[in-house]
Symmetry: C2
Subunit: 143 residues, 2 copies
């Protein structure tokens, strides 16, 4: 999925004849915040970041993330410790994670785009994003 970078309302970029919900100020604000992060963030971390700018409740963060996820604007992945990390849907960010120490190394390549496109045609799903993660043991832990 391709996302125009500086679209007024980012939703435009992915809506394809869908009903067009407007983002609330809070949701837009969260999306902006997320788009300026170099790393995926947990809801709690976002809470900390955003609260420095404006008063906002934790529950609102969770709800906004859920909404944005449903709109295909935000994607998630789950760490080994069970926290969910969120990021704006822009590029692919895939990881190689050590099951032992938990360190995650971002990957460059993503061979999944083609399959995604193919699935889009084959299945009856409208595909928003995907996760691809490798798990193993890193050199340091390989003892």
């Amino acid at each position: 999925m391709i996302l125009k970078k500086d679209a007024e309302n980012s939703f435009e970029a992915v809506s394809k004849g869908q009903p067009k919900p407007r983002l609330t100020a809070g949701q837009q604000s969260l999306l902006d915040t997320l788009q300026h992060q170099p790393q995926p963030l947990s809801a709690q971390a976002l809470y900390g970041v955003m609260r420095r700018q404006q008063p906002i409740g934790l529950a609102t963060i969770y709800r906004a993330l859920e909404t944005l996820k449903l709109l295909g604007l935000v994607q998630h992945r789950v760490t080994l410790t069970g926290e969910t990390l969120y990021s704006a849907v822009e590029h692919d960010h895939h990881y190689l994670t050590c099951l032992q120490c938990g360190v995650s190394v971002p990957l460059e390549t993503c061979p999944v785009q083609e399959l995604a496109a193919q699935l889009q045609g084959t299945s009856s799903f409208r595909i928003y994003y995907h996760t691809l993660e490798f798990f193993g043991v890193c050199e340091g832990c390989e003892g």
Copy 2:
């Protein structure tokens, strides 16, 4: 990674000159149970299943799953509701999940094997398994 199906001790199949820990009775039992499941199961579900055969504590299930994961014998994935599902590492099981209703459709193809092999060489990781998941909205929910 290829796993001989009826190996005495399944660990043999993936150990490649590693220190060779023996599985405890409980761990082996859990692995057997998992290998006979057609679907990935949560720890709690495994607790329910295994308890019908023999007395076993929930904490033991979690510990055994962790151990087997570190040995490369068991893999995990996390559902939208936050529960972790475990399965024996045998085949690839990838999914297409609806963000709205949560339904998961298993996929057939897996284009990741080559990349995995490549990564094995490039990175300093010993790769055990990977997850590949697509998220979107299914036809029914596409309102």
